[in-house]
Amino acid sequence: MNVLGYRLTLTALIGWLIILVCVGSAVLAPWIAPHDPNAPLGQRWEAPSAEHWFGLDQIGRDMFSRMLYGGRISITLAFLATCLAFAVGVVAGFAAALLGRWVDVALSRIADVILSMPILMSALIVISAVGSSAAVLILTIGLLYAVIVFRVARAVAMNIVVLEYVEAARLRGEGLFWVILREILPNALPPLAAEFGLRFSFAFLFVASLSFLGLGVQPPDADWGSMVKESALAIPAGLAAPLYPAAAIALLTIGVNMVVDWLLSLHSRPHGDNA
């Protein structure tokens, strides 16, 4: 199958479908959720039924409706954090690559130092210091990931900057901004798109892990990670309730990774590889 001139593999197709379903249901949650996600409707951990597809949670709320709304929160948080990471990281990375000299050295050293601490630990300390909220989660994850994006963007830009036509443009005396916009960005786009997908899937898992550790959004709202945490007591009771949101997290991440694999294969097609 061909889409926009690109050959679409079966896995990529499945990946896109998963993303479509997850994002679609998140966007449409207010219209398709059968119940109020925050209203207690029955007993604790009522079993799944025709009325409540995934059963009820620990205080009798409809799991299915909460999952729809939870996905909305999880996806939004991860998406915004990724956007922030790219906004900051790409600008800094391109600046380092183009300006070189001390700007590059300074930014690279700062990145080295920050990445010498495990990211999860850094995030835990920062978030428990300032208190958890959606904004804090986005800022923390976004800025920490910006450091990684910075490295990628710098490497990508480095490879392009040395190409002859870019140097030619600079010699022609074109402005820095113009060079970035017209010459570098178009060439950097494919690898950065794949990196965006990859970063999103990591951010998504990261949000889930932090929420699972109790640093998620404010109740009664819950993203998927918080839902796992909230209902974890069902496990010793032999119930699978916490596995539903956890499986949803896994599903969307798989979908994104399938698409990322496809994106990567598009522009690194070595010797006619068609894997």
Partner: protein
């Protein structure tokens, strides 16, 4: 080459120094303080002030940083503010537990993932390759708590094969330790095998597409032989790198798995210490994590340089 290695080492030390400043500065920012956290609901202004004075929390930060770093270099990480035990004693058993689990997982995961990666590369595009590829993709995508709870639900709660809580007690024997930490180990290897295997496969394949390997193929040398004798040695550098990253993860990044299995490792200790504002313990944990991180990367760097002549002269 010796000069290069010394350079790398010096860079590592410099980074570590910078990280130590960062750790100290960030931990100073933690709001709330230990005095009132020690006392919990029993806190009153008078007894908080008494504890603060006793712990020396009222001295300037720069003074405490230089003192802390000086002591840390000599192996003295100070005393826990909370119970006045030497930080070494607090961290020691936790570090041993963490290393035990990390090594347990690594010993199984590293050979297995390299083997799977090579096999997938040899039989690329076969059913085996595609199956392993999909499985590893799924494993990478699953949050650790999903794998952990799934294993607990089925292998512990329902089948009762393995304990759900992985508590290592000193009086238990070695094999008992292996048994009680089986489920967290399994969770960890599912995560790291996927990463390492995929990287191995990619690295081997990228070497396979280089001209001299293609030449070997044209000469009719068997594929397996090409992979083992030609592709693998040249793909070693990226493989070593990904192994180092995953080893680092096994030591510093497993707090979620520790939480799921109530494993008394370093990650949970640090989270607890952050919660209780026991700053010396937080700082010591941070320092250990940074040393592991920087150290493993350094080792990987050095090994890469040694294993690949082309890397001996980096840009």
């Amino acid at each position: 080459m010796l000069k290069l290695l010394v350079q790398r080492l010096a860079l590592g030390v410099a980074t570590l120094l910078a990280v130590s400043v960062l750790i100290f500065w960030v931990t100073e920012l933690l709001p709330g303080d230990l005095a009132s956290n020690i006392l919990g609901q029993s806190a009153t202004p008078e007894n908080i002030a008494a504890i603060r004075a006793e712990l020396g929390l009222d001295r300037p930060a720069v003074e405490r940083y230089t003192e802390w770093l000086g002591d840390a270099v000599q192996g003295d990480l100070g005393k826990s503010l909370a119970n006045k035990r030497p930080v070494i004693d607090v961290i020691g058993p936790r570090l041993v537990n963490t290393l035990f689990l990390a090594i347990y997982a690594a010993v199984i995961a590293v050979p297995l993932s390299v083997l799977l990666g090579i096999l997938a590369a040899i039989y690329r595009n076969s059913v085996f390759d595609k199956g392993v590829n999909i499985a590893s993709l799924a494993a990478i995508s699953m949050p650790e708590f999903f794998i952990g709870y799934f294993l607990i639900l089925f292998m512990s709660v329902q089948l009762k094969w393995f304990p759900a809580i992985a508590t290592i007690k000193p009086e238990q024997g070695f094999f008992q330790h292996l048994y009680v930490t089986f489920l967290p180990m399994l969770t960890l290897i599912l995560v790291v095998i996927a990463h390492m295997m995929r990287m191995t496969r990619t690295s081997v394949l990228s070497v396979m597409s280089s001209p001299y390997v293609e030449m070997a193929v044209l000469k009719g040398i068997p594929k397996g032989r090409i992979v083992v004798h030609h592709a693998l040695p040249n793909a070693l550098a990226p493989i070593i790198n990904v192994i180092a990253i995953n080893l680092a993860y096994l030591i510093v990044g497993v707090v979620v798995v520790e939480a799921v299995f109530t494993f008394n490792g370093l990650g949970r200790l640090m989270v607890d210490a952050v919660a209780k504002r026991d700053i010396p313990v937080v700082q010591a944990c941070g320092l250990i994590f940074a040393i592991v991180f920087i150290g493993l990367n350094l080792i990987a760097d050095v090994l890469s340089i040694l294993s690949n002549p082309r890397l001996r002269h980096p840009r």
